[in-house]
Symmetry: C2
Subunit: 223 residues, 2 copies
DNA sequence: TCAACTGGATTGTCAGACATTCTTTCAATT
DNA sequence: AATTGAAAGAATGTCTGACAATCCAGTTGA
């Protein structure tokens, strides 16, 4: 019996549920960047006590999704364009590597999953449902990162992408961005399906660079 | 006046101090990987209340330095060699990139700082003081990462290096490792001083790979 | 107009409490 | 003898309530 298999079933603690709910609230734009999070209000809304909430907030702080200034309390992290650029650059580094590795080692069934997620994004892109576009695109990357063979790469990437969720949401709603994004993702998929690492890397790099450019445009156009 | 300059002075909260103390305790090996951290004991030792401690623990959990299993409490994260390998690989990715960028843009005064830190490591290497070796080597990388022009790269790198502190401590005490490490770091320094990015990248890659190999040896030799 | 002040709101921190869950021990049964 | 089951003790998850320190905004006074 493989000793590494962890069969422990973890009860979902209030802290975990709170982190997840708040994270989603931030991703969905319910809490906008810069807005303050008042503890007493959140406690009431979530129906939990202050100690539990504060634990959850510390987790989110460590993820850099919120900032906690002593004696002023938590607020949703506001990313400057410089910081966002820095994140896109590191994301490029990681994602390109992951795409390359993925092309060399993805198993057949996962490749089909990847194709399905691409189709799902295609549908979302046609539907103009911004939220669905962001979600399905995220699924697509997830599969690539999950199959790159390096869980740390995956973990770090997820953390970074989470921090630019705000930009991703905006840029995806840019005129024509979803369609060109689809074309880029198709290129990535085909390179991976063909088992061609260098092509996958190239396509992936192109995609991230264009995503960054789109994010920048979306920032400049409507403040 | 530059509006980005944040002049706010933050009072150091108990939570922050606790995180720092516990982090140091883990780095120094005072709390060994896998060992349980009992809340009541830590509260007594640190002289703080349980809510404050638990907030600090959540921060450390998010940094992956400890793990908190529901109803079992926190324990110091125990890294398998596979996970450590994955971290070394991502570290390579980041550090190589940073060294390359650093070579192209480091200012004169920082270069001198880098040289000083190299000298400090040289001294530590001669002294056989393991703890000083780890510290001074970390300073050396810090300066490189701080001058790569990408704060996110720096941040992610710091987080990863923190997680393999245990391995670093062990491998540095390996016979002759400090000396060869010194030679590798000198190569990196010279490439950066010469403003030669590709040489810096190459030297940096060599260094990380050898560090990984040394860590592996140290794991195999003594349990 | 500007500076100082004051009051309310919010956070940082603590103490204490209790139900739930885990761990260990020990007895009982097969 | 080995395994199962029960019980006690310890540790965690969570809540309530409290209070001092700090921040913020609006008011007052110069």
């Amino acid at each position: 019996m493989p000793s590494e298999l962890n069969l422990r079933i973890s009860p979902r603690t209030i802290q975990q549920q709170t982190v997840e709910k708040l994270r989603l609230a931030i991703f969905s734009g319910m809490f906008k960047p810069g807005s303050r999070l008042v503890e007493s209000q959140l406690c009431a809304q979530l129906g939990i006590s202050r100690p539990s909430l504060r634990e959850a907030l510390r987790s989110l702080e460590a993820e850099r999704l919120i900032e906690i200034v002593p004696n002023r309390g938590p607020s949703v992290t506001e990313l400057s364009w410089e910081e966002a650029t820095a994140i896109y650059e590191v994301r490029e580094l990681l994602e390109v590597e992951a795409a390359g590795r993925c092309a060399a080692r993805i198993p057949e069934d996962q490749l089909r999953e990847l194709e399905n997620s691409l189709l799902a994004f295609e549908e979302a892109a046609a539907s103009r449902d911004g939220s669905a576009q962001v979600t399905t695109a995220a699924d697509f990357y997830s599969i690539i990162l999950a199959n790159c063979g390096n869980p740390i790469l995956e973990e770090v990437h997820r953390g970074l992408v989470a921090r630019i969720s705000f930009f991703r949401g905006r840029s995806m709603s840019l005129e024509g961005r979803a369609q060109s994004s689809l074309a880029e993702m198709r290129d990535i998929f085909e390179a991976i399906a063909a088992g061609n690492p260098s092509a996958a890397r190239k396509a992936s790099r192109t995609h991230v660079l264009k995503a960054k450019a789109a994010a920048k445009r979306s920032m400049e156009s409507r403040t």
